[in-house]
Amino acid sequence: MTNYVIIYDGTFVNLLSTIKYLIEEKIRPAKIVVEGKYNVSLFEEILKPNIFNDPNYIAKLENLSSKKVIKIITFVFLSNDKNKELILYYFILNTLKYKKNIIYYRNLLCVNQALKISKHVANENHKFKGFTRFQMVNNKFLFAKIKPDNYILELLSQHFSKRLKNELWIIKDEKHNILSIYDKKNFYIVNAKDLQLLELKNIEKNEKWEKLWKTFFNSIAIKERENRRCQMSFMPKKYWSNIIEMEGNDEKNN
């Protein structure tokens, strides 16, 4: 049996359709990669299956397994894990066999990895529900920048569309260069390259409420209990650049 490098277009539906095809045709992938984002070596054989997307496959999988299993599959797809496609291939292959009980087979590598990755994505999403900081732009809309490792923008937007339902807001994922734009009804995820936001050029720095927030942040800590390491382990440095109260905290920590 040849081990193929399988190409797909980067979308969720195309990945699932590709995995379905591979399983049906009994093709073992060596890798599954996004078209154009992978340099093929001389010794690898490429396969780009000629298939139609099957948007119903996810529903079929859910019928066979459970909501929980589908959530894991979705969250793994949203991760930045380099092997996520291959992990999903094996995870789905085994789901066909073990159905909803798949999640208990932690001794299988693919299950173990899928659970870990999906938890990681869920955790990061949860953290950003707290760490996202909006700025008021021209008294009109709220704007936030985030730099998450995983593709959590859509999950996070679901959260804020309930919480800040009657506000206009935009969240920019600087890491993946995408924007989520909310118009008080729906949010739309677009490529940041496709949209120039002139108003973002003159965001007022250190406006009244930002200053007050920093005042509060500094007053609420108990000096006698200072513990910077603990602070850092809960709020990792990699997120600080967009957490306004942490500005200038770098020096204090060294």
Partner: protein
């Protein structure tokens, strides 16, 4: 006085309250601003490593009482301030929109009388809910001695209502907070317990005890907690290591707050609430916890005759008494072993740490080390070195582990 200075004073004087939790409520956004998240959300972490979830402030730090441990006591010569209701609403709304906070924690010194103070708190929160249409999380303090009708009014507006017991015994209270009566506090807890439902403080009530300001033992403290959990269905008891802010002949002379002790009490509190431990289990040999080991490990070492437990056979209740195995791990073990026989590498794959547990378990009748189990004093030494080698970080009470 500028708003900034007020905020500085009134956050500073509220910081000794340990409660930060924003969980337990699922209040919806009723076409206004905000909602609550059942599991709570931490928005930031202060320089002391504690989670910041709520805008924790006092309405005023003026107070007619003179509790000896408290920075705001009447006899202290400090700068006093008071927010207007509108100011509190404006700060809450503007912080919330920018996602700095999950909601408001409003407490206050007592001005004029408990009733007068309560009425002002109610007015503020009423405005926030009805004029500003704020649906985020609100935790308010009920003032001991206030009329029951006011407590009932406030409960309908907030997600959590609480009152602080502060000291575990009557004698302690008499010594340090002579103006506070434990009957008053009990009465409030009773009222809250009897009224809690979906539209009255849905996240229930909590309380706080100051640790190390009086001479009570850990056993006294845990007995009080256990008693309050049973009588008032408290969601949480918070423990707050005493920070010496005042000088008084009745206060202990210490320079640093007893943080490790506080941590041990939190760990033990967890054992009471979720691990089916009783106060008698915890203190069958001594009245204070071992500072060097967490209470569960310490308990296990004192009861080595009950170990090792076989991972593939032990019941759920037995599993959760194994040091290093928490509720989640125990659940994972129980569900997984229906499908396969668990070996040590599988435990690692499940993310279950063997650091502590390896001394207390077998997998298919084999010890981790393959050899006989070492004797008690060796285990004790190993565990202590482990616990103290990676310089214990003070445990932050996680909001993620269900309140």
């Amino acid at each position: 006085m500028f708003l900034e200075e007020k905020l500085k004073i009134l956050a500073d004087s509220a910081k000794y309250d340990a409660s930060c939790s924003s969980s337990g409520s699922n209040r919806r956004n009723n076409n206004g601003l905000g909602n609550a998240a059942v599991n709570g959300i931490c928005h930031s972490f202060a320089a002391d490593g504690r989670c910041i979830s709520l805008l924790k402030i006092l309405m005023t730090n003026n107070c007619i009482f003179d509790c000896k441990y408290c920075i705001n006591r009447r006899s202290n010569n400090i700068k006093r301030a008071m927010f207007t209701t509108e100011e509190i609403c404006e700060i809450t709304i503007n912080f919330y929109k920018r996602n700095y906070i999950e909601g408001l924690f409003l407490s206050s010194g007592i001005i004029k009388s408990p009733d007068y103070t309560m009425e002002l708190i109610i007015k503020t929160i009423y405005l926030l809910r009805n004029k500003y249409h704020f649906n985020g999380y609100i935790h308010a303090k009920a003032i001991p001695g206030a009329n029951e009708i006011l407590i009932k009014k406030l409960g309908k507006l907030v997600d959590r209502l609480s009152t602080n017991i502060e000291l575990p015994t009557e004698a302690g209270l008499r010594l340090l907070a002579p103006n506070k009566k434990s009957q008053d506090i009990n009465k409030i807890m009773h009222t809250i317990k009897n009224n809690t439902n979906k539209s009255f403080a849905p996240a229930g009530q909590s309380t706080q005890m100051i640790i190390g300001a009086t001479k009570e033992s850990d056993k006294d403290i845990m007995s009080k907690s256990s008693d309050m959990y049973k009588r008032f269905y408290l969601k949480r008891v918070f423990y707050s290591a005493y920070v010496p802010v005042n000088k008084d002949k009745d206060l202990p002379i210490i320079t640093t707050p007893p943080l490790i002790r506080e941590n041990r009490l939190y760990q033990a509190d967890w054992l009471l609430r979720f691990y089916k431990f009783t106060v008698n289990d915890l203190f069958d040999k001594e009245n204070n916890f071992n500072i060097l080991l967490d209470p569960k490990t310490d308990w296990a070492l004192k009861h080595l005759e009950q170990f090792p437990k076989e991972i593939n056979k032990a019941t759920f209740d037995e599993l959760i008494r194994i040091p290093g195995i928490g509720l989640t791990s125990a659940k994972k073990i129980i569900t997984s072993r229906k499908y396969f026989n668990i070996e040590f590498p599988d435990l690692k794959k499940m993310g279950i740490s063997l650091k502590k547990s390896k001394y207390f378990i077998t997998c298919n009748n084999k010890y981790y080390t393959n050899s006989e189990i070492p004797n008690k004093s060796i285990i004790y030494q190993n565990l202590i070195t482990q616990e103290n080698s990676f310089k214990k970080e003070f445990v932050q009470l996680s909001l993620f582990e269900n309140d």
